[in-house]
Amino acid sequence: MEAVLAAAEVRTEPLDFEAWVTEKADALLRFAYVLTGDANLAEDAVQDALTTACARWGRVSRADDPEAYVKRMVVNAHISWWRRFRRREAPVDDPVRTARAVGDGTAARAESDAIWALCATLPDKQRAAVVLRFYEELSYAEIAQLLHCAEATARSHVHRALAALKTTLSSERGTEGAENA
């Protein structure tokens, strides 16, 4: 992370921390929410990342893209072992589909909900890989760097998630077809 930051340092004048946070808070929280699937965890992750960033704002603000840097901090915070350990203490509901596909034009919405629900069931790193790939639209090389793994592993995370998603959606389509028949 330090190496990335050092390489990315291009700005000469530091940004004002408060102004920057005001501007970027929504984007950071949205990203964190997509990453964690939980509003409280998202707030915690963003707050922790901003605290870390604040402590070395002089360097962070000179980076080429401070937002990307702070997002990396959010990802790191989310997949850190102690955070996963802490989350074990707060059990969540079993993942269920939040909406049923019906034939009145809300199928797309139902599918979207099904994908969201499935993402909630993915392991942390797999989910992070999916979010970074399809929400942040990063390359596998960038994802691998962020998740501290090989590019092939990052690719594998995404493909496993896709396979699971496809299986779920296919079985649901089958169920709906049977119900409609």
Binding site: F17, E18, V21, T22, A25, D26, L29, R30, F31, Y33, V34, A39, A42, E43, V46, Q47, L50, T51, A53, C54, A55, E111, S112, D113, I115, W116, C119, V130, V131, R133, F134, Y135, E137, V158, H159, L162, A163, L165, K166, L169
Partner: protein
């Protein structure tokens, strides 16, 4: 038939689903910066406090080490104590905690009042003379009704001098007379319990100098003959007896 690519097929759907659910409703977007600054400030304060605590601990450890390395050999300070000035038990020797010395205070009643033979020191209470000592309270008791006759505290240096002076002594002093006495005067009229502060608690040496059967320093496991050199170190003020059967035979106590 074109190759099926799940990423191309499902990717847009996932992107759409994630973007559709990415809202910040219910999340607190304000005060993030202020809270971050507050946490950084608190973290730095915590680190400062921790650093200060480490410095204090190191300083205390250094002082403790210096105190613990005090030589048991007489110094000007211990000399003055040896001249009879009762000293507070704040000085330590060999790193023994100072509060250990506080526990050496003389009890109102002591087993030495009942018996005073070499084997009468209760098991486990006698001092191993190779044990470092941090302080000493000399307790002079009457074996009659009077109880505690006098007491005096000495610092670690004097305590160690007393131990060092005793442990070189032979089992008995050949210069002392051997008495044939009546049973009523067999038992000493008084005796002194030397209560030493050690790392394992208070340990004692009994000093018997009266009566007519035994005389010397008793640890329970060893008996050392009665000689004047150790006596001169602690027989001061109220701990100094007016006389004793065997003391009369020691000229320079």
């Amino acid at each position: 038939m074109p190759e099926h690519d799940p990423e191309r097929e499902l990717g847009p759907k996932i992107t759409s689903a994630l973007q559709g659910h990415a809202d910040t409703q219910g999340m607190q977007a304000t005060d993030l910066a202020r809270e971050a600054r507050r946490r950084v400030h608190r973290r730095r304060q915590g680190m400062s406090v921790a650093a200060a605590a480490v410095l204090v601990a190191a300083a205390v450890g250094g002082v403790w080490s210096v105190m613990g390395n005090d030589s048991p050999v007489a110094t000007s300070h211990s000399d003055s104590a040896g001249e009879g000035k009762a000293v507070a038990p704040e000085r330590t020797s060999q790193g023994i905690q100072p509060n250990a010395a506080e526990n050496t205070a003389c009890p109102a009643q002591h087993p030495i009042q009942q018996v005073a033979g070499p084997s009468d020191v209760p098991t486990g209470t006698g001092l191993d003379l190779n044990t470092p000592v941090a302080g000493l309270t000399a307790c002079r008791y009457s074996t009659g009704q009077s109880g505690l006759l006098g007491q005096m505290q000495f610092d670690g240096a004097v305590a160690q001098q007393v131990v060092d002076a005793i442990k070189v002594l032979p089992e008995r002093n050949p210069e002392l007379p051997v008495f044939k006495c009546a049973p009523q005067v067999t038992k000493p009229s008084e005796a002194i319990a030397l209560r030493f502060a050690t790392a394992s608690g208070v340990k004692e040496i009994w000093v018997v100098y009266d009566g007519c059967t035994d005389a010397g320093f008793f640890t329970g496991t060893h008996t050392y003959g009665l000689f004047s050199a150790p006596l001169k170190l602690f027989m001061k003020d109220s701990v100094r007896p007016s006389g004793g059967t065997y003391l009369s035979a020691l000229k320079d106590w």
